[in-house]
């Protein structure tokens, strides 16, 4: 099977790729801002785990993947779905529970999945997709397909049982997985240093003799470089890598979160390292694009998000007569 680059992206860092990544970060940001607007307006009740602040992680990782590679996602999964190539209209309609949603209104925000783009699903259970990622990688290995799996999970997941089971299995069988730990410093309200004895969660990999890397999760170029490097190792039979991305969710865990467990000063410092700013600054410095281009992309993305919102809002509700459809395959 001939490898296809994600959206035919070049393997070197070109202006086109940098622009794609900037566009994706902005797409995720504006998508999530629209979700926030819908939450505040009461249009949606669920779907409030927003990815704002962490956009560079999904973007950088997915930019390193082939179209036929897999991802597994989390309860904070809108960004993963978009970055893997999901249609904003179908994803937004799903979060609104509409019949036109990518899961026909059955999954919603917590179970956004898009098999056509290789997204094996967000998961409402922290750590719930780690085993699935191992299995998809086992399948890829047994089918000799050259596919790899990027398994996204948060800092909270590293303390669940299946995390250890899946890490161990993946290493023993040298399966092609990138364990992408999005360490946003808090599992809901409990900080990493209150939940574990570790400073760097990548150290968990040592117990399995697994390769590890620590990356600035606010810098999409750093994430891309790591995902490419370790992704190619996985693809060529070199086994899994644990990539810890240091990042931050700019908002609360969900909309009911008053953020009493962290300071506004800490939030301010992280907001200075907004992934949009980091990406745009580097691109302008390198001469890959200019400020006018950034503004142009911003307005193009805004139009796409408005179109998606219009589509989602105007889409029909699912038919209650179809409530039990799809429980079983025929």
């Amino acid at each position: 099977m001939a490898p296809t680059l994600a959206r035919n992206m070049p393997r070197t860092l070109t202006p086109d790729l940098a622009l794609w990544m900037l566009r994706m970060i902005l797409t995720i940001r504006m998508f999530e801002e629209k979700m926030l607007e819908f939450l505040n307006a009461g249009v949606i009740k669920g779907g409030s785990h927003l990815y704002i602040g962490q956009e560079a992680v999904a973007t950088g990782v997915c930019a390193a993947l082939r179209n036929d590679d897999y991802i597994t996602s989390t309860h904070r999964g809108h960004g993963h779905g978009l970055a893997k190539g999901g249609d904003p209209k179908a994803l937004m309609a799903e979060i609104l529970g509409k019949a036109t949603g990518v899961c026909r209104g059955r999954g919603g925000s917590l179970h956004l999945a898009d098999l056509d783009t290789g997204n094996l699903g967000a998961n409402g259970i922290v750590g719930g997709s780690l085993g699935i990622a191992a299995g998809a990688a086992l399948s890829a290995k047994m089918r000799n397909s050259g596919q790899i799996v990027a398994c996204f999970f948060g800092d909270g997941a590293v303390n669940t049982g299946i995390f250890h089971e899946a890490m161990n299995m993946t290493k023993v069988w040298e399966l092609p997985v990138l364990f992408v730990c999005e360490n946003n410093l808090y599992g809901m309200s409990v900080s990493v240093n209150r939940a574990t004895g570790l400073t760097d969660l990548a150290d968990r990999a040592d117990g399995y003799r697994m390769r590890k890397a620590i990356v600035d999760g606010q810098d999409v170029f750093a994430v891309l470089e790591a995902a490419r490097h370790y992704g190619e190792i996985a693809r060529s039979g070199g086994g899994p890598t644990f990539i810890e991305c240091k990042t931050y969710r700019f908002g609360g865990h969900s909309r009911s979160d008053a953020r009493k467990y962290r300071t506004r000063e800490e939030e301010r410092q992280w907001r200075e390292r907004d992934p949009i700013t980091v990406c745009a600054r580097r691109g302008i410095e390198e001469g890959w694009f200019d400020t006018a281009t950034v503004e142009q992309i911003r307005s193009e993305v805004a139009a796409i998000i408005e179109e998606a919102a219009g589509f989602a809002l105007s889409s029909p509700e699912p038919d209650p007569h179809e409530l039990t459809d799809d429980l079983y395959a025929a």
Binding site: Y70, T72, G101, V102, C103, R104, G105, R106, G107, H111, A113, L115, D116, L120, G121, N123, G124, I125, G128, S129, L130, G131, I132, A133, A134, G135, A136, A137, L138, S139, A140, M142, R143, V149, G161, I162, E165, A166, N168, M169, V172, W173, T324, D325, D326, L327, Y328, A329, A330
Partner: protein, 327 residues
């Protein structure tokens, strides 16, 4: 050819795995001690030698990851048969069974398939007590999205396992540890037993006994005893607990007007409770006596052989229940 051949349930299951692995290279086995050891109850013996370690995989003791990996492989083009050594261990893998495997197709709008077989075994009979002897099928019956199969004969064991492997849904395939050595007719060729179809093991006119797995065998023995007294029992072996064959059960009750449900699992909230309720809903006017349930005592399974035997139905308790419906 071979129609008179007899096999044990253990060998029938082994043959089903071999045949499907030969037929379809997407089929593979994974679990604790299934390769070199051949499975805690010997069902996978010899598979490693025939198919190699790529397709017959010993795993670490990681029940959640075994089932999770089975799900991931099933979603991406493989047809895994994973072994959960004891159904009791479902407790440490239940998230993967009921939150993931059972729900994925529905949650994802019908766009995913999870053709996963979870082979396991349950029940009493080996004096291995509270954490290795349970009958947990009621948990799975209560989980939309799963199918649950529980054979009682070698013929059904082979035909149902082949069906389960070819099914595009997650199937809990629950064997019974005490009947692996039961022998019976089992043809050599490729055949399937459909999931969801009960078998009438013995036609009768006075009462219907509904059962499955090991208790179907005890129900047959009870029917023999009762036949000596001139009482004619129809014995239905459900074979599939979910979705169970409502049609065959209701039709039989409409003929006999009496129903006795026999299960090894605990009585409260059990499979019998569900079947009894459905009979009430669909055939109340046909009943000449209250539906009887013969079930495991609501207790933890004890170690003592004497206590263990007292915790589950026996032939005498089934016979007594049938008699009560005829008073």
């Amino acid at each position: 050819m071979g129609s008179s051949r007899e096999l044990t349930i253990q060998d029938a299951l082994n043959e089903a795995l071999r045949m499907e692995m030969r037929r379809d290279e997407r089929v593979f086995c994974m679990g604790e001690d299934i390769a070199i050891y051949g499975g805690a109850y010997g069902v996978t013996k010899g598979l490693l030698q025939e198919f190699g370690e790529e397709r017959v995989r010993d795993t670490a003791i990681s029940e959640a990851a075994i089932i999770g990996a089975g799900i991931g492989a099933a979603m991406t083009g493989m047809r895994p048969v994973v072994e959960l050594m004891y159904v009791d261990f479902a407790g440490i893998a239940m998230d993967q069974i009921y939150n993931q495997a059972a729900k994925i197709r529905y949650m994802f709008g019908g766009k995913a398939k999870v053709p996963l077989v979870i082979r396991t075994q349950g029940g009493t009979g080996k004096q291995i007590a509270a954490q290795h002897s349970n009958s947990l099928e009621a948990w799975f019956l209560h989980t939309p999205g799963l199918k649950t199969v529980m054979p009682s004969t070698p013929y059904d064991a082979k035909g149902l396992l082949i069906s389960a492997i070819r099914d595009d849904n997650p199937v809990m395939f629950i064997e019974h540890k005490a009947i692996y050595n039961e022998k019976g007719p089992c043809p050599e060729g490729d055949y399937t037993v459909p999931i969801g179809k009960a078998a009438i093991r013995r036609p009768g006119k006075d009462a219907t006994i509904v059962s499955y797995s090991r208790m179907a065998l005890r129900s047959m023995a009870a029917a023999d005893t009762l036949a000596g007294e001139g009482i004619s029992c129809e014995v239905i072996d459900l074979r599939t607990v979910s979705p169970w064959d409502t049609h065959v059960v209701i039709e039989s009750v409409a003929r006999t007007h009496r129903a006795v449900i026999v299960e090894e699992g605990t009585r409260t909230g059990g499979v019998g409770a569900e079947i009894s309720a459905r009979i009430m809903e669909l055939a109340f006017d046909e009943l000449d006596a209250p539906v009887e349930r013969v079930a495991g005592v609501d207790t933890v399974i004890p170690a003592s052989a004497t206590l263990e035997a007292a915790a589950i139905p026996n032939v005498e308790s089934i016979v007594a229940a049938v008699r009560r419906t005829l008073l």
